[in-house]
Symmetry: C2
Subunit: 247 residues, 2 copies
């Protein structure tokens, strides 16, 4: 509550990406109104922790802007990122009180939150929302399983290309025209990329350099990435997807 940003709290769902892509995608106006009534906003600075594994999380939320990561840690410090939350992604689960992963903002993060009790009540009375939630969870499951293939069977170079390709695909607006090239900002440090890919940061750095040397990507500074040919990138990623359209 103390983190609520006044100007954002005044926005309504019409200004909020989740209206289109997340929980309320298929809702009636009257149902939207119910969501409106219980939502509020939170903002986090880069590096700030939203929740530690095992913490009670008394809200569910959609990412409005920025990025956050879900990470698991072993006692000896080995870490594995298990989710990357980009705008329109959903965190938190109805029916479970605590979260199993560390949730950390990796860039300036704005989330649209719903406190658990009224949200869970809403689920029970609004089948559209429950349905949409199931659909989103199934999508996440697909993403997790695709990532299992990356972690288990791909080479370091393919892993990097896969990650870039996933982030690029999420960045649709700038490539909505048929063009096969695009530019985007990498929201992750080399270390975070390594945690996502099951590599060390040195290997990540080396392979990014290799992709740059081979013309697959062009770096403008450390974080801004230009992809001259998306098909080439996806080929490097070993994706069997045709990639015909970005959607």
């Amino acid at each position: 509550m103390s983190m609520m940003t006044p100007d954002l709290a005044k926005q309504n769902c019409a200004d909020c990406p989740i209206r289109h892509r997340a929980v309320c995608a298929r809702c009636e106006p009257s149902e939207l109104k119910l969501l409106e009534d219980i939502k509020y906003y939170r903002t986090y600075e880069p590096g700030q922790t939203v929740a530690w594994a095992g913490d009670k999380m008394d809200f569910v939320a959609s990412v409005v802007s920025g990025a956050a990561t879900l990470t698991q840690t072993m006692e000896d410090g080995r870490r594995q990122m298990v989710g990357l939350l980009l705008p329109s992604d959903f965190v938190g689960r109805p029916g479970r009180s605590s979260i199993s992963y560390d949730v950390v903002a990796v860039s300036k993060l704005v989330m649209c939150c719903f406190r658990k009790p009224p949200f869970e009540q809403l689920i029970q009375t609004t089948p559209h929302i429950a349905e949409r939630l199931l659909e989103m969870t199934l999508d996440e499951l697909d993403a997790a399983r695709e990532w299992m293939l990356v972690l288990g069977r791909k080479t370091a170079r393919e892993k990097i290309a896969s990650l870039l390709s996933i982030i690029a695909r999420r960045d649709v607006p700038s490539a909505a025209d048929g063009s096969r090239s695009l530019t985007f900002d990498l929201p992750l440090t080399r270390e975070a990329m390594a945690d996502y890919l099951g590599l060390t940061l040195e290997t990540v750095s080396r392979q990014v350099s290799a992709l740059k040397r081979d013309g697959v990507v062009v770096l403008e500074g450390k974080r801004r990435v230009h992809v001259p040919d998306l098909d080439l990138l996806m080929e490097e990623a070993g994706d069997d997807s045709d990639g015909g359209t970005l959607i």
Copy 2:
């Protein structure tokens, strides 16, 4: 339909594990009746394919007995298992017509099936089932993410121990008493284990031998595994879970 086994088709939910652990867990008798009315059984032999990736799947199902795997394949033949279906696990997703993975029986498999159209109708009219489905999907998502840690950060030896520990934990009945030892049948070949763990079958074989040599497991034949001390196995797996209870 042609695969339906007559004697099984006559069973009712009272004989069927899914009554207790899968879709109908929290249902009223009247709701159970609705599931009864649309369910039927299928059986598969070891090695038989239930569905290829991309196939239409016109039913959802719960595993009654046996085991099946979900596998992804790259064009060059690299394979990654993304799910292991044991009794009470659920396959198929409402709202999506085709499946994204190969589904293959790895031992004699019996599934309790529900055709899509009536099942989807049931979801819309029976909130208990929709809720339960969301909960199961969230559990699967947790399992997938736990597996990401295994694939991304664990050593070959830890991977093997993790897999054995997961299978052992599913085999609760024989360890329901407080005992910390148990024996179970491995439903997977070395190759299937390798596909699950992101290893080669040679490495799997070597590490299983190593665990045997070190007394972590005792093999009775190739497939029957005795774990003298479950705590030791879980320590080998690098699991931070206390393991206090098996449930």
